[in-house]
Chain length 134, copies 2
DNA sequence: ATCAATTGCGTTATGCTATAACGTGTGTCA
DNA sequence: TGACACACGTTATAGCATAACGCAATTGAT
């Protein structure tokens, strides 16, 4: 899944997500981009679909929101080296993205044992980050 | 979190979920219960909130839907002995609920290391069950 | 060069998911 | 008995996501 050059809309959405230090809903992104000519949710959702496909953005299922991939610079996402997990602070909104090989492997083992063919795995931990828990 | 006797609405919602072999959205539950006097989403959501609190029901974040806890009979859920994971078949809709101590422990270690205080953890694997993958 | 297929884009309308805010009734118990 | 907690019912609204239409630009094979 090599990412081609982004289109204008895709770039705009990606920029907004990259600048944000917290997840954003599609509608929040839309509002941020009204000045750039965005008028309808579909403009955002279509861009997000592509960005997700390219691995530049992640969707947080438990929030119905989106974040830029923390490792977009490296080969992490574009190579799809495994399942990514998220720790979401419910106080400040900060999201830590990490990969745990052991967890990945363990879930893979379970799937293998059960004959289940995984397509996409979601791991999200909600709680308080170290700064907010202090 | 010992579950007290369920109220009428809670029982109705729980029954519907128990009879279903796939997750159900709140609105689908509502439709199933129109004959029993349900008229508004809030009647369902309020019951679901309690059932979730009692550990009798789980919410599937990646589907915005709900399932009865597979282990409701045992002490699994009511005791909250750890994080539960779900394997969701995208073909037949069947959901397997399981617990993996190693995964649980591993994520706990990560949290401890980072000073993150977990409140709720979501693990959902979407794919094809053995029957549908065959 | 041209035609067909693909892709992105814009717009309108709609559907699905979830909660706010208000009021009612009922049971507890100090 | 009066304050409180809790379940319930209703209306309205907020928030998230996609269907369906049409147009424009690009690509690529013939």
């Amino acid at each position: 899944m090599i990412a081609p050059a982004l289109t204008k809309n895709q770039s705009l959405v990606f920029e907004v997500l990259n600048r944000s230090d917290a997840p954003m809903s599609a509608y929040t992104i839309l509002d941020r981009l009204r000045d750039h000519g965005f008028r309808a949710p579909l403009q955002v959702y279509r861009a997000l679909d592509k960005l997700l496909e390219f691995g530049l953005v992640h969707r947080l299922e438990s929030l119905n929101a989106f974040v830029a991939c923390s490792h977009a610079q490296s080969d992490c996402c574009s190579r799809g080296h495994g399942t990514v997990a998220f720790a979401i602070c419910e106080s400040c909104g900060h999201v830590s993205e990490f990969h745990d090989h052991a967890v990945d492997h363990r879930l893979g083992d379970w799937a293998k044992e059960k004959g289940f063919k995984p397509a996409k795995t979601t791991i999200e931990i909600r709680g308080l980050c170290s700064a907010c828990a202090a």
